[in-house]
């Protein structure tokens, strides 16, 4: 990139560097309810100032009750997803049952830590229903540290979304507010609004948002358009 700007002048020695990682942008978020979970992600894949595609959701269905959200370096996202799906099948063959959300989360943590010294450059979210049917969200760092939250945003616009969620769902920094349990519809609308706001200011977030709602009756999926600039 540099030599293009000053072709005639500097022929000073320059070190080239191959990076095994790339930043492909994108944002995902998950919110846990009483008996449901909502997971959303934008669908833009980018690098630098270019857009690779406008139609690549960053959510992946693992089982009927669990969804993975993964952003960061897309090459690692793809491989991680493949390995996860294979491990899920192996578990089913051995134990004759599907993996629960907490089991998947624990396994993902070990998978990520195995690559402690050449990590998967992926920021993960696992959202699903626990064994009692309550919604639960687990968030991870690239090397496998994880914990459960009621809500979490990950990806390029996470820093913009997380404080907003803290205020609206965690009811932080608000006086005299009653804690009401949120309905599915309210949460989906909140997710839509939150992504619309993120698309305004974050260049890597936009195009469309895909929202999954997971309940004991299965998973429904909706798609909403976002700013394409």
């Amino acid at each position: 990139m540099d030599p293009m700007l000053n072709e005639e002048s500097s022929y000073a020695p320059k070190q080239t560097y191959f990076s095994p990682y790339a930043m492909n942008g994108g944002t995902c978020l998950a919110i846990a309810g009483e008996d449901f979970v909502v997971v959303g992600s934008d669908t833009r894949l980018s690098q630098g100032f270019s857009i690779f595609t406008r139609d690549l959701p960053k959510t992946y269905k693992l089982t009927t009750s669990t969804v993975l959200g993964a952003c960061g370096f897309h090459g690692d996202v793809l491989t991680l997803t493949k390995v996860l799906n294979a491990r899920l099948k192996m578990f089913e063959h051995e134990h004759h049952k599907k993996m629960t959300t907490s089991e998947i989360a624990a396994m993902l943590s070990t998978m990520l830590y195995h690559r402690r010294f050449f990590p998967y450059y992926v920021y993960n979210l696992i959202a699903g229903l626990d064994e009692e049917g309550k919604g639960v969200v687990y968030s991870f760092d690239p090397v496998g540290s994880y914990g459960s939250d009621g809500y979490r945003a990950r990806g390029s616009a996470a820093a913009m979304l997380q404080p907003l969620l803290d205020n609206q769902i965690g009811l932080k920094n608000q006086q005299n507010v009653q804690r009401v349990s949120l309905s599915k519809e309210k949460v989906v609308n909140l997710v839509k609004d939150v992504f619309i706001s993120a698309a305004e200011r974050d260049i890597y977030t936009g195009d469309a948002v895909v929202v999954h709602v997971i309940t004991k009756d299965g998973t429904t999926t909706e798609r909403f358009p976002l700013r394409r600039d």
Binding site: K82, V83, N85, A86, K89, M90, H93
Partner: protein, 265 residues
């Protein structure tokens, strides 16, 4: 005479295992298996093993060898999905099993796998039934039965072969259960305890039906007469138990159990 006896002995193990039948229609492939219990106290041994979403096998012979082969098959299927993001074609899986089975028939210090498989799968080319042998041969079949007294089942299936292609799934299952029933000795009946069913099809992932889930299908063939008309030669007392040999639905006409004599347990 150019015969390798060890391989024939291994195939004998398959013939000693309890019977299992595989058949296919235009849209589905099914496996029915007779589960055996080693004693009153023990559970009935599982016969049908899921391999992948689109493939399952039923086994006859040494269960331990079957476990080894089925783990190998599972691993092949997983690797194909990982590498190519698409399900492994059934024929490719079966030939991989054949190649793997051949090695211990020729290498010093090893013995052939003492298990025969019936592989039921659905892929781009449609439904399939394959049979594998300890000899490392494998056969693409329209329908097949292996295990103890399986000749009776094969005879039933040969008679009704033309019907299978256009069969509905329920009809196909009824044929499979009837074929399996042919292998039973006189007093024994198919029950939810000893019968296992596996189905895979166009819009159906490989699913196993065990215990209570089989009841619905057993009920479909409940009232039918069994065609086990003639008693074995040495049991004259059996005559009194018979009320059979008529033609209610489609069991075959007086088909004396000629083939039974050779297959004593």
């Amino acid at each position: 005479q150019g015969r390798i006896h060890q391989i024939e002995y291994a195939m004998e193990a398959v013939k000693q295992g309890s019977a299992t039948v595989g058949l296919k229609s235009k849209s589905h492939a099914i496996l029915v298996a007779l589960k055996r219990a080693s004693s009153e106290l023990a559970a009935h041994q599982k016969k049908i093993i899921p391999i992948d979403d689109h493939i399952g096998v039923s086994i006859a012979g040494l269960t331990a060898d079957a476990r080894l082969l089925s783990n190998f098959m599972r691993s092949e299927c997983l690797n194909s999905r990982y590498a190519y993001d698409s399900p492994l074609p059934v024929s490719r899986l079966v030939s991989a099993v054949g190649n793997k089975s051949q090695i211990p028939t020729q290498r010093y210090g090893r013995r052939p796998f003492g298990v025969g498989l019936l592989v039921a799968g659905y892929d781009d080319q449609g439904p399939h039934i394959y049979q594998t042998c300890p000899s490392a041969n494998y056969y693409d079949c329209k329908a097949m039965a292996i295990g103890a007294r399986s000749q009776s089942a094969r005879t039933y299936v040969e008679k009704h072969l033309d019907k299978f292609l256009e069969c509905s799934l329920d009809e196909l299952i009824k044929h499979g259960l009837r074929a399996l029933r042919e292998t039973l000795p006189q007093e024994v009946e198919l029950t939810t305890k000893n019968c296992s069913l596996g189905i895979v099809g166009k819009d159906m992932e490989f699913t196993i039906y065990d215990d209570d889930d089989v009841q619905k299908y057993l009920a479909m063939i409940e009232g039918e007469e069994r065609s086990r008309a003639a008693p074995p030669a040495d049991q004259a007392a059996m005559d009194t138990q018979e009320g059979e040999g008529q033609q209610p639905a489609d069991p075959q006409p007086a088909d004396p159990a000629v083939e039974e004599q050779g297959m004593e347990h």
